[in-house]
C-alpha cells in the first residue's frame, strides 16, 4: 500500500501494528452509522433495539463459527488489551482461593505483562518463562514452572515482534496436567493460523479486530463454558455479566465480518505472504551481517524480524523512514529501549537495538518487497561505511 504526498515512495510494512480496514468491513459498519440506520441500543427492547441486537449476535456467531465454539462463549471487548486484562485479572481474581501463582513468558505482549504486574501488586507471584534463542517456549520449561498453586498460564500463540509460533497443543497438554487455566493471547495469530477451539484445549483466548482488517477498538475473549471470571467492568449485566457497557453495534458487526472474511481466504493469502516474506528475507540477507530473529520455520507467514550488524538502530530507522515498519511493538514505540523480546532471545544490545520488524499484509506486493530490499541494502551499506569512517 502506498500513502502520503511526499515525492519518495511510502511502503507500509507494519501490518502487525495495525491493518487498514477491509472495504467490505467498512460497508458493514457504515450501515450502523447512518441516521436512518440501525443505530439503536442493542439492550433496548423496542424493534430498533432488537434489530441492533441481532447484528451483534450475528457477529458473535461469525466469530464462534470460525473458532468452532458456541456463540455464548464469545465475550465482546474494546480490543485484545481489554480481553487480555479480563482473562488474566478476571481468572486470577476469581480463583484466588486456589492459589496465587501465574505463569507467563518474558516475550509476552505488554498487555499480558502489565496485567501480570498489576496482579503482582495484589500479591500474586508470577513466573516468566524464558524462550530458547529461537523464541520457542519448551513444554518442559512450562512443566517445571507449574505448581499446585498455579491458577493461570498465559502464553502468546504467535509473538507479535518475531512472529514465532508456539507449539500450543503440547503446551496445553502440560497445563492440563495441572489445575491451572490456560489463556492464549491470539491477537497476532488470529485468522492467520487455523484455530479450532473445539480441539485445542484452552480456557481463554483473546482476539483483536484491527489485526485482521477490522476496526480498532473492537475485540473478543473466548471464555470456556462454565468458567467464572471476575469482571473488569461492572454495570448493566451485558455480556452475561462479564463485561458491562453499551455494545458498539458497528464495531462488533465490523469485527464479525472481518473475522469471517479473513478466515475465508486464509490459505491462499498465507501462502502468498509466505512467498513475499521469503523473497524479502533473501533480499535483506544479501546485505550480509543480517540475522533472522526467531525460529526459521515455526513462524507466521507475514512477519520478518531482522537484526542488522554494524549499524545504529535509530540511524537505520531514520534512513528508512519511507518504509513504515517498526523496531518492535508499536505499543513500545515511544520507548527507545532495545526490544525486551529480542533481549529474551539472547540478542546483545547492538543487535536488539538495530532490529526491524517488517510485517506484510493484504496490500503488500512483490514490487513493495523489491523496493524495500533495495533501499535496505543501500542504506545499510551507507551506514556501515559511515561507521567505518568514524
Amino acid at each position: 500500500m502506498k500513502a502520503g504526498n511526499n515525492n519518495f515512495r511510502l511502503v507500509y510494512m507494519d501490518y502487525a501494528a495495525t491493518t487498514p480496514v477491509d472495504p467490505r468491513v467498512v460497508e458493514t459498519m457504515v450501515a450502523y452509522l447512518g441516521p436512518d440506520g440501525l443505530f439503536a441500543n442493542p439492550s433496548s427492547s423496542h424493534v430498533q433495539g432488537r434489530a441492533a441486537r441481532e447484528a451483534v449476535e450475528t457477529a458473535r456467531v461469525e466469530i464462534a463459527t470460525v473458532l468452532n465454539v458456541a456463540p455464548e462463549t464469545i465475550v465482546f471487548t474494546s480490543g485484545a488489551t481489554e480481553a487480555d486484562n479480563l482473562a488474566i485479572k478476571g481468572a486470577a481474581r476469581a480463583r484466588i482461593k486456589h492459589g496465587r501463582h501465574i505463569v507467563t513468558e518474558k516475550t509476552a505482549h505488554k498487555a499480558v505483562l502489565d496485567a501480570c504486574k498489576a496482579l503482582e501488586r495484589e500479591g500474586f507471584e508470577v513466573t516468566y518463562l524464558v524462550p530458547d534463542r529461537e523464541g520457542i517456549i519448551s513444554p518442559d520449561s512450562l512443566a517445571d514452572a507449574l505448581r499446585d498453586d498455579t491458577v493461570l498460564v498465559s502464553l502468546l500463540h504467535a509473538n507479535n515482534e518475531t512472529g514465532v509460533v508456539q507449539d500450543v497443543e503440547s503446551l496445553a497438554r502440560e497445563v492440563r496436567k495441572s489445575k491451572a487455566l490456560f489463556h492464549l493471547d491470539a491477537a497476532q495469530s488470529a485468522v492467520k493460523l487455523p484455530l479450532d477451539l473445539a480441539v485445542l484445549d484452552v480456557d481463554l483466548a483473546a482476539f483483536s479486530a484491527h489485526k485482521f482488517y477490522g476496526p480498532k477498538g473492537a475485540g473478543a475473549l473466548y471464555v470456556r463454558k462454565g468458567l467464572r471470571l471476575e469482571p473488569l467492568l461492572h454495570g448493566g449485566g451485558h455480556e452475561r455479566g462479564l463485561r458491562a457497557g453499551t455494545l458498539a453495534t458497528h464495531q462488533l458487526a465490523g469485527l464479525g465480518r472481518a473475522f469471517a472474511l479473513a478466515a475465508a481466504d486464509r490459505n491462499e493469502e498465507m501462502a502468498r505472504l509466505t512467498g513475499l516474506r521469503e523473497r524479502l528475507w533473501q533480499g535483506l540477507s544479501a546485505a550480509g551481517g543480517v540475522f533472522l530473529n526467531g525460529h526459521p520455520a515455526r513462524r507466521l507467514a507475514n512477519i520478518l524480524n531482522v537484526s542488522v550488524g554494524g549499524v545504529d538502530g535509530e540511524a537505520l530507522q531514520l534512513a528508512l523512514r519511507d518504509i513504515a515498519c517498526s523496531a518492535g511493538a508499536a505499543c513500545n514505540a515511544a520507548n527507545r529501549e532495545p526490544s525486551y523480546v529480542l533481549r529474551a532471545l539472547g540478542r546483545d544490545d547492538q543487535l536488539a537495538g538495530a532490529s526491524l520488524r517488517f510485517s506484510l499484509g493484504r496490500w503488500s506486493t512483490a514490487e513493495d518487497v523489491d523496493y524495500v530490499m533495495q533501499r535496505f541494502g543501500r542504506e545499510v551499506a551507507r551506514l556501515r561505511e559511515l561507521a567505518g569512517a568514524a
Binding site: T18, A40, V112, A244
Partner: protein, 379 residues
C-alpha cells in the same frame, strides 16, 4: 419510525459519520507507531482530544479516552478506591448501573459503600452529602443528570463539601453532556464521565475527565496509551467521531436544548390534562429532553410494547435494565409507590424529532388507554 429514546442512545450525526470515515478508509495507522501512517493517526487523535476537551472547557491532557461511559465510571470508582485501599464511598441512590455495579464490587472487596438518599423531587440535598462526610470518606459519586427522570443535581455545591472533607468528587455527566451547558471546573468535581453515543456520537467510546490531582489505578493495563491510565490501541474512528460530536454539541447546545424542550413541554402540557398521569421529577430542574411518566392502571412495559407495535420507540427506564421487570430503583428512591413506578415510561427527545412526533405519541397513548380493562383508572 418515531424514535423517542435518545437517553438510551442517539443516532449518529452526519458530521460525526463524516469524521469517522477517514479512520476506516485511509487513516489507518496505529497512533503509537512512529512512522508517517502512525503520526497522521496520532495528529487526528490529538485534534479529537482537543474537541472533547473544549466541550467541557478543559485542557486536552485532562481527557482520558475509554471504551465508553461504563468504563469511565468503573475507572473512576475502582481507580480511586484501589489506590486508597480502604475507606468509605458515597454514591447517590439513583445512580446508573455503571456506578452501582462497581460500587457493589467495591463493597464486596471490603470498602464501605453508603447510598445518599434523594427527596421526592429526585434531588440529592447537598446537606445529606455533608452529613455523611467524614475523614474516612475517600470518594463521592453523584450523577449530573439522571438517565430516567432527567433530574439535575447540584453537583457544584456537593463538590464543595466533598473537597472540604478531602475526598474525591466524581460526577457521571453521560446524560448531561451536550444537553446542558457543561463546564468541568464549574462542577467542582475532580473526575467526570462522558459518553459519545448520548450526543450523536458513536457507541464504544467515552472519556474520563480529570483535574490531574487524582492518581488512578488503571483497570486495563499494558502498552502505555492514555498516559498509562488506559491501555489498548485507540479506537481511532470512534474517537474522531466523539471529537466531531463534541464540536457539534459545543456549537449547537442552546439551539438543541430549545428544540427538545419545546417538544417535551408540548408533550407534558397535553399529558397533565389527562387523568391518572404522574410525571416524575417535574418539580425539579431537569434535562430539556426527558419526560418520564406513568399512566395509572397501565404497566410501563405494556405501554412501551404497545407503542413499539405502532413504530414509536420509547423505554421504561434504563436500556441497560430493559430485561428487568423490577420497578425502577430511581423512582423507588424518590418514594414513588411501586404500583405507580411499574407504570413508568420514559420519552427522551432528540434533534430530529418534531411536533408531529409528539402528536403521534399522544394519539397512540390515547389509543392504548382505551384498551384498559373497565374499572381501571384510565384517562
Amino acid at each position: 419510525m418515531i424514535y423517542l429514546d435518545h437517553n438510551a442512545t442517539s443516532p449518529i450525526a452526519p458530521e460525526v459519520r463524516a469524521a469517522m470515515l477517514p479512520a476506516l478508509e485511509s487513516l489507518f495507522g496505529n497512533p503509537s507507531s512512529i512512522h508517517e501512517a502512525g503520526r497522521l493517526a496520532q495528529n487526528a487523535l490529538d485534534e479529537a482530544r482537543r474537541q472533547v476537551a473544549a466541550l467541557v472547557n478543559v485542557h486536552a491532557r485532562q481527557v482520558i479516552f475509554t471504551g465508553g461511559g461504563t468504563e469511565a465510571n468503573n475507572l473512576a470508582l475502582k481507580g480511586v478506591a484501589q489506590r486508597e485501599g480502604k475507606g468509605r464511598i458515597l454514591v447517590s441512590s439513583i445512580e446508573h448501573s455503571s456506578i452501582k455495579g462497581p460500587a457493589r464490587d467495591l463493597a464486596a472487596a471490603g470498602f464501605t459503600v453508603e447510598e445518599i438518599p434523594v427527596n421526592p423531587k429526585g434531588r440529592i440535598l447537598p446537606g445529606a452529602v455533608k452529613a455523611r462526610l467524614g475523614a474516612d470518606v475517600i470518594l463521592v459519586s453523584v450523577m449530573l443528570a439522571n438517565n430516567e427522570t432527567g433530574v439535575l443535581q447540584d453537583v457544584a455545591e456537593i463538590s464543595r463539601y466533598v473537597r472540604e472533607a478531602g475526598a474525591v468528587m466524581h460526577t457521571d455527566a453521560a446524560q448531561a453532556a451536550g444537553r446542558i451547558p457543561l463546564d468541568f471546573r464549574a462542577t467542582g468535581a475532580q473526575l467526570m464521565t462522558l459518553s459519545a453515543h448520548k450526543m450523536y456520537g458513536p457507541k464504544g467510546v467515552g472519556a474520563l475527565i480529570t483535574d490531574g490531582s487524582v492518581d488512578l489505578v488503571p483497570q486495563i493495563s499494558g502498552g502505555g496509551q492514555e498516559a498509562d491510565r488506559r491501555a489498548g490501541t485507540e479506537n481511532l474512528a470512534g474517537i474522531l467521531g466523539f471529537g466531531a460530536a463534541a464540536a457539534l454539541a459545543n456549537a449547537n447546545q442552546p439551539q438543541r436544548a430549545g428544540h427538545v424542550c419545546a417538544l417535551r413541554d408540548r408533550l407534558e402540557e397535553s399529558l397533565v390534562i389527562r387523568p391518572g398521569i404522574t410525571i416524575f421529577g417535574r418539580e425539579a430542574e431537569r434535562l430539556p429532553n426527558t419526560c418520564q411518566f406513568a399512566i395509572a392502571g397501565m404497566d410501563g412495559e405494556t405501554v412501551q410494547m404497545g407503542l413499539d407495535r405502532q413504530g414509536i420507540a420509547v423505554s421504561t427506564g434504563s436500556a441497560c435494565h430493559s430485561k428487568s421487570t423490577e420497578p425502577s430503583h430511581v423512582l423507588l428512591a424518590m418514594g414513588v409507590e411501586p404500583s405507580i413506578a411499574h407504570g413508568a415510561v420514559r420519552v427522551s427527545f432528540g434533534a430530529s424529532n418534531t411536533q408531529a412526533d409528539v402528536d403521534a405519541l399522544l394519539a397512540a397513548l390515547d389509543g392504548l388507554s382505551r384498551t384498559l380493562p373497565t374499572g381501571a383508572v384510565g384517562w
